[in-house]
Each structure stands twice: as C-alpha cells, then as structure tokens.
C-alpha cells in the first residue's frame, strides 16, 4: 500500500505541468480578453481548414513512408545476432545524438538550389531541380527526423516474437507472404500503433521543419499556432483554440488507430 506514495512526485508533476496547462488552454480558447465566454475563436478556426488538411496530409504521408522504411529494417534487425543488434541499434540512434535543429539545417544546405544534391545532378548533366521550399522537402524532413521513433518500437515488439513461430507457420503450409500477413503483422501490431503515434503526433504539430525546409510558403498548423503567440498578431485566444481543435483531431485519429490493436490497449 505504501508503494502508492512513490508515484506522488509524478502525480504532482502531472497536475502542475500537464493538467493545469491543458485547462488553461481550454480556458483561453473559450474566453475573450476581458474574460467573458465566447466561441468566436473556435469558429474562427474553421477558416484555416485548408492548413489543417495539409498538415494532416503531410504528416500522414510522412508516417506511411516511415512505416514502409522502418518495418523491414526493424524485422531484419530483430533477427540478427545479439551483439550485432546492439551496433545496428546504435547506428539507428546515432542521428538523434545530434541537435534536431542542426540536422534540419544540414538538409537546408543539401537541398538548396546551389546545394550539394543539385551540384551532383549538374555533374550528371541534369538541370537544377527545385528541391527546397516544396512540400516534398517538408515530408523528407519529417521522415528523416522521426524515422528512429518508428524503428525503435517496431524493433522492441518484433524482438519478442519467437522465431519458431515462423517455422511452425511454414510447416503448416504458409507461403512467405501468408507468414507475413497472418503471423508477423498481427503479432507486431502493438509496435505499429505506437510507432505510428510517435511519428504522426510530432509530425502534425511541427513548425520548424516547415519553416526551414518549406521556405515559409508551406504553412502548417504548428506555424499557425506559433504566429498567434510570437507573430505579428498576438492572439493567445485564437492560438489556444487552434491547439484545442488540433488536440481533438489527434484524439480522434488515435482512437481510430487503436482499433487496429488486437489487445485494445490505449496508447496515447
């Protein structure tokens, strides 16, 4: 019974730094400067529908690409010798040791019109291609930065799958594609859902990637929220309302995602 008190530091932390700020966001979203109740700001959010759609769309593309890249990698990784797994995992984690901004900055110079990639293309006789300041560059930035967050949960789930299950499957007459769809994917579902969550949620609310790689003309929700607080129009109420709507959207999407989870775990 006494053990319960050990969690009190986290409880206090949660109340002060998670619950109270959430309530403040809700309070700001529903009030005006003078403190009276209003839904004006929430209905104002409607005019930014296209920005919401674009953010969700780009985050979705980035998540799918991450999943497609990460899934085979995680599987191969989980079937390796133990000591080689350690080395490979370190290589996966390596980029994360570097500052996030620095990594994105590096992409800026790679993709620039006079950047390395365009120089190489010129050597091959291909004309300069517009790479930076496109939505493709934003997706690339998301995939690059969040890929480890997809690989790690997938790997940790797959590592626990017993290899003899695959042998059993083929003994019972499964082709390799049947093994994949009826054994590996269902068993790795918890890893997929948590990986998708860990990539999709930060990707949808990012603002620095779209600013640096999107050239400021691929506005995402994150940029929109930032503009309300540090931009020219200081409007915390609208900013809070946008955040609230974003939160609800993520909640809905995550609920849908969790339907895929066989154990019906809540992963949020």
């Amino acid at each position: 019974m006494k053990l319960k008190y050990l969690s009190s530091p986290y409880l206090v932390w949660m109340v002060v730094f998670i619950l109270v700020p959430l309530l403040m966001i809700a309070y700001f979203a529903f009030t005006t400067d003078s403190g009276s109740l209003t839904i004006k700001y929430l209905s104002d959010v409607g005019q930014y529908a296209n920005i919401f759609v674009r953010s969700i769309w780009l985050a979705l593309i980035a998540t799918v690409i991450c999943l497609i890249i990460a899934y085979p990698v995680a599987f191969i990784l989980s079937r390796m010798d133990k000591h080689r797994q350690g080395t490979m995992l370190m290589i996966v984690m390596l980029p994360m040791w570097m500052n996030f901004l620095l990594r994105t900055y590096a992409w800026m110079t790679l993709l620039a019109n006079n950047g390395i990639i365009n120089h190489l293309l010129a050597l091959a006789g291909l004309g300069p291609v517009k790479l930076i300041n496109t939505s493709g560059a934003v997706v690339l930035g998301m995939v690059y930065n969040y890929l480890p967050f997809m690989i790690l949960p997938l790997y940790s789930v797959m590592e626990k799958i017993d290899g003899s299950l695959f042998e059993a499957a083929s003994d019972l007459g499964c082709s390799s594609s049947q093994t994949l769809f009826r054994v590996i994917i269902p068993l790795s579902m918890p890893g997929i859902t948590s990986g998708v969550t860990m990539v999709f949620v930060p990707a949808i609310s990012t603002f620095i990637i779209s600013r640096m790689l999107g050239g400021g003309s691929n506005l995402l929700i994150g940029d929109l929220i930032e503009m309300q607080f540090l931009g020219n129009s200081y409007n915390p109420h609208l900013g809070a309302a946008i955040s609230l709507v974003l939160m609800v959207i993520i909640l809905v999407i995550m609920t849908v995602m969790n339907q895929f989870d066989p154990d019906d775990q809540v992963l949020m």
């Binding site: 620039a112 006079n114 517009k130 600013r211």
Partner: protein, 425 residues
C-alpha cells in the same frame, strides 16, 4: 585574474609613456581604476558623480535587449559596456536577449518577468504606450538626451518623446547579386522583387508588417495605412509575387544570400552590411522611391522597480564613448550626434548607413502601431496568402483526404464487426 592585473600594471607605464609623447588621453589619468580600463579602449565620462549615487546599495537592474545588440567586449579591444556600467555605478546588470518585438511584448504582457530597460522598435513602442506597458521617463535624469539628433525626437510613435530614448536606426533596402543582375544601382526599385526574370531567386520577409510595407511602397500607399481596401490591394500584390518567391525568411537571409542561393532579398541595412562583408558579389541599395525607416529606442516598462537606476543606465548608454562603442560594434546607424562625429569619414558618408537627411525626411516612413482591426486584417490576409495552395494541388487534396478517412472508418467498422462475430463462438 592575477595575471590580468599584472599585465594591466605592466601596461600602465606604456600608457604614461604615450601621455608624455603627447597623446590626449589626459582626462582618464586621475581615475582610480585607470589601470583596468586601459585594457580596453579609454573611456571618458563627463560627470562621474552622477553615476555614483547608488554605489554600495547592492542594486541590480534587468536589461532586455535584442541579441548581438550591444558592445560586450567579446572581441579584443572592444568595450564591455555592461561591465563598465557596473564598475562605475555599482549597479549589477542582468542582461538577457530576445529575437523579436513580439517576443518582448508577450513577456511584458504576460507580466511574468520584470524588466527595467527594454529596447523595442518604433511600432511596438506606440503599441506599448497605448497599452500602458511602458512608463514616462524623467528626462531630468538623462542629461545626455541632448546628444540625440533633432531628426530623431518627437517621432510619430512617441509624439511628445516622453517614453523613449532612440538607440539605433536604419532603413530597409535590397540586397542583390550585382554579378548576375545587370541593372545600374540607381535604377533598382522595389518592383525588382516582382521581376519574373528572377523567378525562384527572390527571398521575401517572413513577417507581415515588413512584407506589406514593400507592397504598399509599390502601390504608393502609406506604410501605416489602415484602409482595408488598400491592405487588400497590397495582399493581392504579395499573392502575385508568391509564385516567383523562393522562400519567406528572416535571419536565414544571412546564409541564403551569403551562400549564393538567391539573388535578391529585401533586408535591414545594418544586417545587410554584415552579409556584404562575407560575399563580394553582393550589393545593397536603398531604393530612391522611398523606404521604411526603423528606430529602436530604450524604454522603461511600467513594471520596473528601479526606475532611477534604469534612467541612469539609459543615460550611460548615451555617453558619447559608450554610444560610439555600441554603434561601432553593431554596424547600425546612430541617432547620437557625438557618436556620429567619432565615426570614420567613410562610414559617415555611406549612403547605406547614413543617407542624406533630405531623403530621410521626405522619403522614409517610420512605422506606427496599427489599430487592432487593421492588425488583424493584415494578419488574416497574410495567413491567407501564405497558406494559398498551388492551383492544381488544391482540387484533389481535400477530397482525397476525405475519401481516405471514410474508407478507413468503413474498414475499421467491418473489422470490428467480424471480430465481434468471431468472439461469439
């Protein structure tokens, strides 16, 4: 520390020697701390008694300034302004930085932090005055205000000059690659930013106020217009331009122009000079048709608890030697007459830093704060412009997304249905 003192002591005889040979650093000789000061450049203070009032009381003031906007003694031979102030007055300076006017505003408006001296720009000063975030300054405590040039007093953002003491100023102009753009300097005007020949080689301000100002200059409107049809017309211009703009940037301009990734960018004169130092191909021009002039001025927030000490700091910043050390370090233009006199001739005559006063008076406009409605209108138009899609992607993006969502929902429902059926057995 000991070694530094030793060095300073060793340097003292040389200083005496230079005095003997006729150098005119005589006034500092009777200062007690002369040896330490000789490490950097010599400092002359007209009225040391004024600054010693608060000595020994353990006071401290919070100064909140732009980044890289003061001489901090980081380079050899430059003056550590805050350090000198502490030495002279015994008041400790807690010095912190911000990156945008809006960040400063959010901090003061939030009321979480108390600052004694802040250095916002023109339009932000008028906004803060209106909202009571800054308090009137007692100019009796700032005798050095006399050094501020006439042209920089009683400007539109602070008509009675009761709240602010100008610190620096500058204009907005165009940085361009003169090796590629073959147009004589005097013919370059703002419309070059709309020139299709340089499509995808143009950078633009990533903040609505500066971007709208350029569009308004082209349309011939006032830079402080609140007329909604004029704002819409300016926004229309910006939308036209979006197609040929490579990117909307602020400080990234240093890298992109310096590295040759773009050919044309509008930017602030002081920063432009810094960029020009790194890349010989670049030139900077302030279009003859007119431009925006910005002024950063020192103010005392209403929440200040050390008003007199803050005024002392502002007065110190207006000491000729200090003002010169700062302006020499940050490359912006100075409104301080004595500091201006100390600049070398080349800088004084530079058309970039110090355009002739007739041009400044007739062709430049200082921002004032817009009404809340106009600000909101500008912000909405800006967001709309920035989030506008390319023609072709707009058509299918939303429908595809909706169809995808619906399919996903159907899939989930069917899956659940099958699962529930299975569970019965």
């Amino acid at each position: 520390m000991d070694i530094r003192k030793l060095l300073a002591a060793a340097a003292a005889p040389f200083l005496m020697l230079s005095l003997l040979t006729g150098c005119t650093a005589a006034e500092t000789a009777d200062e007690p701390e002369e040896e330490e000061e000789s490490e950097a450049q010599t400092l002359t203070i007209a009225d040391p008694d004024y600054y010693s009032r608060f000595k020994g009381q353990g006071l401290s003031i919070n100064v909140y300034n732009w980044g890289e906007y003061i001489s901090d003694g980081a380079d050899d031979g430059t003056l550590d302004v805050n350090g000198e102030f502490e030495k002279l007055t015994g008041i400790k300076v807690n010095y912190t930085n911000y990156a945008t006017n809006e960040e400063l505003y959010a901090k003061l408006k939030g009321g979480a932090a108390s600052y004694d001296v802040v250095i916002p720009s023109d339009y932000m000063i008028s906004k803060m005055i209106k909202e009571g975030l800054v308090q009137p300054i007692d100019f009796d405590n700032i005798p050095n205000f006399g050094y501020i040039m006439e042209d920089f007093r009683n400007l539109a953002y602070d008509p009675d000059n009761a709240y602010s003491v100008p610190y620096t100023w500058g204009t907005v102009g165009i940085i361009y690659d003169s090796t590629v753009i073959d147009i004589p300097e005097e013919d370059i005007d703002w419309d070059i930013l709309w020139n299709e020949d340089y499509a995808d080689e143009i950078l633009m301000f990533d903040n609505p106020r500066d971007a709208f100002a350029i569009a308004e200059l082209i349309c011939g409107y006032s830079l402080n217009t609140e007329d909604s049809s004029e704002l819409e017309q300016a926004a229309f211009r910006l939308r036209q331009q979006k197609r040929i703009v490579q990117g909307y940037v602020m400080d990234e301009v240093f890298d992109k122009m310096g590295g040759g990734d773009a050919l044309i960018a509008p930017y602030y004169a002081g920063d432009a000079l810094t960029i020009l130092e790194d890349n010989d191909a670049l030139s900077f021009v302030v279009p003859k048709s007119g431009t925006n002039r910005f002024i950063d001025a020192m103010c005392i927030p209403s929440s200040s608890r050390q008003k007199e000490a803050a005024e002392m700091y502002i007065n110190f910043m207006c000491e000729p030697d200090i003002a010169f050390a700062n302006i020499d370090y940050i490359c912006y233009s100075t409104p301080h007459s004595a500091a201006f006199e100390m600049l070398d001739e080349e800088t004084q005559n530079s058309p970039v830093s110090y355009p002739d006063s007739e041009f400044v008076r007739d062709k430049t406009t200082v921002f004032v704060n817009l009404s809340d409605e106009a600000n909101q209108k500008m912000q909405d138009l800006w967001t709309e412009m920035k989030s506008a899609e390319d023609e072709n992607s707009n058509k299918w993006l939303a429908p595809v997304f909706l169809v995808f969502c619906i399919l996903l929902m159907i899939f989930v429902l069917i899956r659940r249905h099958i699962k529930n059926k299975k569970d019965i057995f």
